[in-house]
């Protein structure tokens, strides 16, 4: 399935389930974010040296595999977000890594991550001047299935992810959270994530980004690089 087809299917699904008004509001928000967005981002760091999963383990953590795609597709279909399944398929095919959380065999969420060996895919925090040491990991796009939010499940999944990464030899985890995302901020704030930097970011057409203190950056296949108008002129 192509991305365009997936987007059309998702919109049709939204239209049927939530009505024209809600679907239009979603489309407007998606388009707005694609054209222009501005946000404060909090860069976080967590020391993993004492990370341990809750006992008894309420959430099992497993490395995402292509065999999990049907499970992921089922979750995404329920939310009218089949394009996210494509993103997952492509990500795994490119060698990206995610940890999945299971409660009584049911998928409850996922967390993408990479270490310094995979920074070629584009280390998001490079825009803020961060690098990854060999014993550091970058965690991103934590997602908890809506019906599984609350009751300590996101925290238990996060603890399981941290313990798994610590078990693999990583000593700390970096990540970021948008300042408007109160539930995620609270989850990290109450689980010993330290805010190491707060930065204001504006993004135009998802490719061009202005970061306070860093200037303009351009997103390419290999991540973000400083935008130099002179070099653009030479290319054209």
């Amino acid at each position: 399935m192509s991305t365009a087809r997936a987007i059309v299917d998702d919109l049709w699904c939204l239209l049927r389930r939530r009505g024209a008004k809600a679907a239009l509001a979603d489309v407007r928000e998606i388009l707005r974010r694609r054209f222009y967005s501005k946000t404060d981002q909090l860069i976080l760091r967590k020391d993993l040296s004492s990370a341990e999963p809750a006992e008894p383990r309420p959430i099992e953590v497993a490395e995402a595999q292509p065999a999990h795609i049907p499970l992921l597709a089922e979750v995404n279909r329920r939310e009218c977000n089949t394009s996210r399944t494509l993103h997952f398929e492509n990500g795994l095919a490119q060698g990206r890594r995610a940890l999945l959380g299971f409660r009584d065999g049911r998928l409850i969420g996922w967390f993408w991550w990479h270490d310094h060996t995979q920074s070629a895919y584009g280390f998001e925090l490079s825009r803020f001047g961060f690098g990854l040491a060999p014993d550091e990991v970058y965690g991103y796009d934590l997602f908890i299935v809506p019906g599984e939010r609350g009751q300590g499940r996101p925290a238990a999944f996060l603890a399981g992810v941290e313990a798994e990464l610590a078990h693999r030899g990583y000593r700390s985890m970096l990540g970021f959270v948008e300042s408007w995302n109160v539930p995620a901020r609270w989850l990290y704030a109450t689980h010993d994530y330290e805010v190491v930097l707060r930065c204001h970011t504006r993004t135009i057409l998802r490719r061009l980004m202005h970061v306070d203190g860093q200037g303009w950056l351009l997103r390419g296949k290999n991540g973000l690089r400083p935008l130099r108008l002179a070099s653009l002129g030479r290319r054209s």
Binding site: G152, S179, V182, P183
Partner: protein, 96 residues
């Protein structure tokens, strides 16, 4: 279920109101009724990532305060006493 008639004698009037909301909306089970002013609401899972949003909405509408991003730190929400102190401080700031 209503926690607003809690028999906790050590709670201030504001703490009692907050206790009532927490027992009614956030906590569950018999243990919820016996929450003391110094119990850790975060550690016990009562004020989790969804609970904190409900608590913020309640405090803003009930006490006419505005809770901003910088206020969203665990030390303002960890115990009933800390929460009541925080609401007191915000109300005092508003009335200046």
């Amino acid at each position: 279920m209503s926690g607003s008639n809690s028999s906790s004698p050590d709670l201030s009037p504001l703490e009692r109101e907050l206790h009532g909301f927490i027992v009614d909306e956030l906590a569950s089970g018999d243990a919820a009724e016996s929450i003391s002013a110094e119990d850790d609401l975060i550690k016990s899972g009562i004020v989790d990532s969804l609970g904190v949003m409900q608590l913020v909405d309640y405090c803003e509408s009930q006490y006419g305060i505005r809770i901003g991003e910088i206020d969203l730190v665990p030390d303002n929400f960890r115990t009933l006493r800390q929460l009541a102190d925080f609401v007191d401080r915000k109300q005092a700031l508003r009335s200046r």
